[in-house]
Amino acid sequence: MKQSGLWVSALVVGAVVLAGCSPSVGEGQGGEGDGSGIVKVVLWPGPEGDAMADVVDEYNAGLGKDADITVQMTLLSRQDTFSKEATLMAAKSSDQDIYFVASYNVGQFSSSLDPLTGVDTANYFPVAVDGLSQDGELYALPVDVSNHFLLYRQDLIEGLLNDPAQVETYRSVAEQAIGEARDPKPADQWDWDDFKAMSAYFSESANPASPTQYGTILPARNLLYNTMIWNDVLWGSGGSWTNDAGEANLNTPEAVAAVNVYADIYTNGWTSPDSSQAEFPETQAALKSGNVAFALQWSAGFAELNDPERSPDVAGKIAIATVPGGKTHVHALAVAMNKYSKNKAATRSFLDYLATTDAMSIYAQSGGIPAMPAVLAANEDLNPAFGQIGESIDKYGYSVPVFPKTFEAYAKLAEDLSGAWIGEVPAEDALATANADLAKLLQP
């Protein structure tokens, strides 16, 4: 037979074999196990991983030892934990018994998780529990809670409020910036127009006498976590992702106003042009360096900024206020049972322990921010922000609807809107695209 004929035959056979086989995955079945043995947990490194390590050690030395259960924790990279878990889930792997998940991806992962039953959710922030529930079932146990604050230079804001000359300058800058010669307010009373006016006042481009180079830094990088921060502006402006009927709701004047808060600040030079690539670390750097007067930031950022060793220039000068508009995104970082775990009984025992205030007290004392208001209140001396976190979540917290494509929706909105956030794309056009994309993702 000619060589070319051999090659064609080989290709045809190969194609038929390929078509007949499905992608290889695991057995696809979990098991209860005998209630003892090793329980494997995935977490990501950082404050959460460090705090959970202490909880695991305590369990292994106490209740775990009595029950003959040993918990082993695997820390993956902070950047790619969820991607690696997605790969394990897609392969229906039994390698891990407990996955690390979050409110924003529990919907995406839910088909690989077992719902948790018999959990006393009374100890948790209701918004944290809601954010981990889908179709009435709780898919993960809240461990850590994140929300946003307005972190601001208390010395600079109070200096402005107490100096009549500065107040006059502020009024003049505000008139240019927002069309209204309004007086400066304490940070916990700001609305989004105050946020813009203050951004202008503390920028050298609008106020040559400004003590800072820029008013603020905007987390405008194309990143799903930045959508979570921008959501505060959206919700605080009276908008939301969906209407009461659960339909996409981004094509609204409120959403346009929310985009334009960012766009106006960026295009007027009241923030560094580098804001287009900014997220948590860049916001920390901007506040630490003293180059900005305030910023929207994750609650986890405050401790470092208040530490004289890590932030010598600004420690003791940074204060916390509620996000302008009175709405803060809340998400919970959580742990969930792998549907394909072969040791579910032992896994459940460990999860029962994690749901106790004792476990979460150790977590708080080791640097975590537990999703239990009573534990936060009892440990305020460890982290001054704890009291405000609890209050902020209770009064101002909202959670985005949980559906299978929530995670993708966050990412899609960042992609669709990040150009508009920096004024490269008109707000209406970007929101029309975002609304259409969200509508597709909301479909079952």
Partner: protein, 293 residues
């Protein structure tokens, strides 16, 4: 009639090539085949049932929002960085092809960038170029240059510069190695004939180095098309989709959209689009001995 000697030769060829064939089969052919196979299935995180859907994923690829933007940016990026790196790498190789004091030290320093993992380089540059704490903006500011390196107007040139900084040494190394086995008698003959340096370069060095240059450019081009790490760390493909490469696009399809079947289909389409380059390059690299002038 085949002699015993020629039968042994034929067997020896296969025996000696067996490890390479096994390695290629296991680490190249099989994963690629798995990828193609995955593209034939509806396979998402949200739906645990994997179902065969034929060419549906492949059909979808060409109408995906953002796909052509990613293709355009990847093509532009790959062509520009490869061209710049080829010129600079070749120039550096010519410059280094002589003896001078400190050559070994300089040579080592030149190779340092390619020894750093691209993702680590991305993190390093993210710190170095940060407007608030980075060394680069501080130095530029000292010269009166207040440039924002991550602004929309500067971010693409920035990514190109960073790629050139990291990968020019790669082309330099390949071309320099080629120059070490360049026949010196040919150069001496040209010199005797009165040919100047530029004429020698144009008429002798470049034509005779064509296979080496082609190999270097091909390898670099393929790598540039696959760029992921540095850009993902620095910009995550933004603002919007401005710096989204095809690799980032595939990654997001898999791990943000959770659609492994579609991501595999896009990967296969990219592979098929690049395959026609291979015979072109082989033609320039793998010329029979007697056909080179």
């Amino acid at each position: 009639m085949a002699t015993k000697g020629s039968r042994i030769d034929r067997s020896a060829k296969w025996v000696l090539a067996a490890p390479l064939i096994a390695f290629t089969a296991l680490f190249v052919v099989w994963p690629v085949a798995q990828g193609v196979q995955t593209g034939l299935y509806y396979f998402t995180l949200q739906n645990p049932e994997i179902t065969f859907n034929g060419l549906e994923n492949f059909r979808k690829v060409f109408s995906l929002p953002g796909f052509w933007d990613a293709v355009r940016f990847t093509a532009l990026f790959a062509v520009v960085v490869t061209a710049v790196e080829a010129v600079l790498g070749f120039g550096l190789a010519l410059l280094m092809n002589r003896t001078f004091p400190g050559k070994k030290l300089f040579f080592t320093a030149l190779l340092l960038p390619i020894m750093i993992a691209p993702s680590l380089l991305g993190i390093m540059f993210r710190l170095l170029l940060n407007g608030d704490i980075g060394l680069a903006p501080a130095v530029l500011s000292g010269f009166g240059l207040d440039i924002s390196l991550f602004a929309p107007g500067t971010v693409v040139p920035l990514l190109i510069v960073l790629d050139v900084l990291q990968w020019t040494p790669f082309i330099f190394l390949i071309v320099y190695s080629g120059l070490q086995s360049f026949p010196t008698d040919v150069l001496e003959a040209a010199q005797v004939d009165g040919a100047g340096k530029l004429r020698t370069l144009k008429s002798l060095v470049i034509p005779m180095m064509k296979p080496v240059i082609a190999a270097a450019v091909f390898l670099r081009m393929i790598d540039a098309i696959r760029t992921f790490d540095v850009i993902y760390v620095l910009t995550a493909g933004g603002p919007g989709r401005m710096t989204t490469t095809i690799s980032i696009y595939i990654y997001k399809t898999a791990f943000e959209s959770g659609d492994f079947g579609l991501a595999a289909a896009i990967s296969t389409v990219v592979l098929l689009a690049l395959l026609p380059l291979v015979p072109l390059v082989v033609k320039h690299i793998a010329q029979p001995e007697g056909s080179r002038s």
